[in-house]
């Protein structure tokens, strides 16, 4: 009898450890990827910005954009996963900056950084244990098949999308939880999450102008592009042009000087 109890106890301990280890080591490459992080760090440089020379990168995570953020407001709409777009890297520095590294035309390049960490970095990335505990406490451990961080700045939201048995769950890390009505770091079922979001972001009145602060009517991409055409071109070309003008001017001076000397002292 005593032997049986010992064996069962041993098995239970082993099973618990295996389960815990499975969750502890659950770091999908869609969120964390140490080897890619090591590579990305090398691209996180800002030429000419002296304060960035002291940046020391201690952690990082991937964050996806949404092709159609409106799905967040649709409890019965398409899956959030189906709207995931491309991802960028957010690198955490020891000085509490969050550096964004983006992929442009196949090349990683530093885009910008914040002073201070987002809620997602504070809770979602730097405290991975908290997320693991949260999932375990909900009794959905062991079956997490996918995880993605995504951003929806128009809804003041960053969030972790967790997929368990084809069901979507969302853990929000709001930029302003007072605006979203969501509790940071809490696990929401997709439907529950979208109902709260929908209630907090009603559609604004229609307007011909771009309205700042809320949801306006759909701007056409054409209109955006039309406005962006006005943007200044990089001044690199201007520098090259100035150099060429200087060279041309100096050459003209030299040529004029030589020609004048020839006229004054014609060859015998």
């Amino acid at each position: 009898m005593f032997k049986k109890v010992c064996v069962i106890a041993l098995l239970l301990v082993l099973m618990t450890n295996v389960s815990a280890n499975a969750m502890d080591s659950f770091e999908p490459s869609t969120v964390f990827d140490q080897s890619e992080f090591e590579v990305i760090k090398e691209f996180a440089v800002f030429p000419g910005l002296s304060e960035t020379t002291t940046f020391r990168y201690i952690d990082g995570y991937k964050r996806y954009s949404l092709n159609d953020p409106c799905v967040l407001l649709q409890p019965d709409g398409p899956s959030i996963k189906s709207s995931l777009g491309t991802y960028s890297w957010l690198l955490i520095t020891s000085q509490s900056n969050e550096v964004k590294v983006v992929n442009k035309n196949g090349a990683w390049t530093a885009s910008g950084y914040s002073y201070g960490l987002s809620q997602m970095a504070k809770i979602g990335v730097l405290q991975k244990d908290r997320i693991i505990n949260l999932i375990q406490n909900e009794g959905i451990d062991g079956n997490v098949s996918e995880m993605y961080f995504f951003e929806a700045p128009m809804y003041f939201l960053n969030a972790l999308l967790v997929i368990v048995n084809d069901e979507e769950y969302v853990i929000p890390f709001s930029i302003r939880s007072d605006f979203t009505g969501l509790e940071d770091g809490k696990l929401y079922k997709r439907t529950e999450f979208s109902v709260i979001m929908r209630d907090h972001f009603p559609v604004q009145e229609e307007s011909d102008e771009i309205m700042y602060g809320g949801r306006a009517e759909q701007l056409t991409l054409d209109r955006l592009q039309e406005k962006q055409e006005v943007m200044s071109s990089d001044s690199d070309t201007r520098i090259v042009s100035v150099s060429l003008i200087i060279v041309a001017a100096l050459l003209s001076l030299v040529a004029t000087f030589v020609l004048k000397r020839r006229k004054v002292k014609p060859d015998n």
């Binding site: 000419g48 602060g213 809320g214 991409l221």
Partner: protein, 195 residues
């Protein structure tokens, strides 16, 4: 023969000198103004918070806030402080209101070039950038710092801005600020100081 050699040497030296100047030149120019960040009080008040940031920078003794801006432009007897979005022109009006019309703001339906923004900050004038997301969402931020670095013949341009959503400061390349690569919003309109 000696003349020809002198001429060639002269030309070569000129070319080398000209390219050396442009390739090894380094310059860095920072235009910074001490704007106090303001956090928007309601979901749709980024424009009013930006108006407060810019207005109070220009007229620091002002006692008016984003609430006063919203009340002045959007308020109704039934709702003094409605949670509604504002246009770029309304932002300029709001900023004027913050300064009690001691300064004048205007708006333009296009982004400032980097040089224009850099020049504005050089004149101690904040720049309010109206940014649009492809979904139709608009957001406004306040530019308080610009950096122009020329290194080895290449120019790098950066902007620092305060986002009223969280009051945090952000830095990014000017091109990524314009096309929405950094924060998801494309820079499309500008509210600026006339005097």
């Amino acid at each position: 023969m000696r003349k020809r050699i002198s001429l060639v040497v002269c030309i070569v030296l000129t070319v080398v000198l000209a390219f050396t100047v442009s390739v090894f030149a380094y310059s860095s120019e920072v235009h910074h103004i001490l704007v106090t960040p303001v956090v928007q009080a309601k979901t749709n008040w980024c424009w009013a918070a930006c108006a407060e940031m810019a207005g109070k920078y220009m007229y620091s003794v002002s006692n008016r806030s984003q609430y006063d801006v919203v009340n002045y432009i959007k308020g109704t007897p039934g709702d003094l402080y409605p949670d509604v979005a504002g246009s770029i022109a309304e932002t300029a009006t709001g900023a004027n209101y913050i300064t009690y019309s001691n300064h004048s703001f205007s708006s333009i339906g296009m982004p400032f070039s980097f040089d224009a923004a850099h020049a504005a900050l050089g004149n101690h004038h904040p720049v309010l950038a109206g940014c649009a997301h492809f979904t139709g969402t608009g957001h406004m931020v306040t530019i308080y710092n610009t950096v122009k670095v020329i290194d080895a013949g290449v120019t790098y341009t950066y902007v620092n801005y305060y986002d009223p959503a969280d009051g945090n400061g952000y830095v990014c390349t000017y091109s990524d600020f314009c096309d929405g690569t950094y924060n998801g919003y494309s820079y499309v309109e500008t509210c600026y100081v006339l005097y």
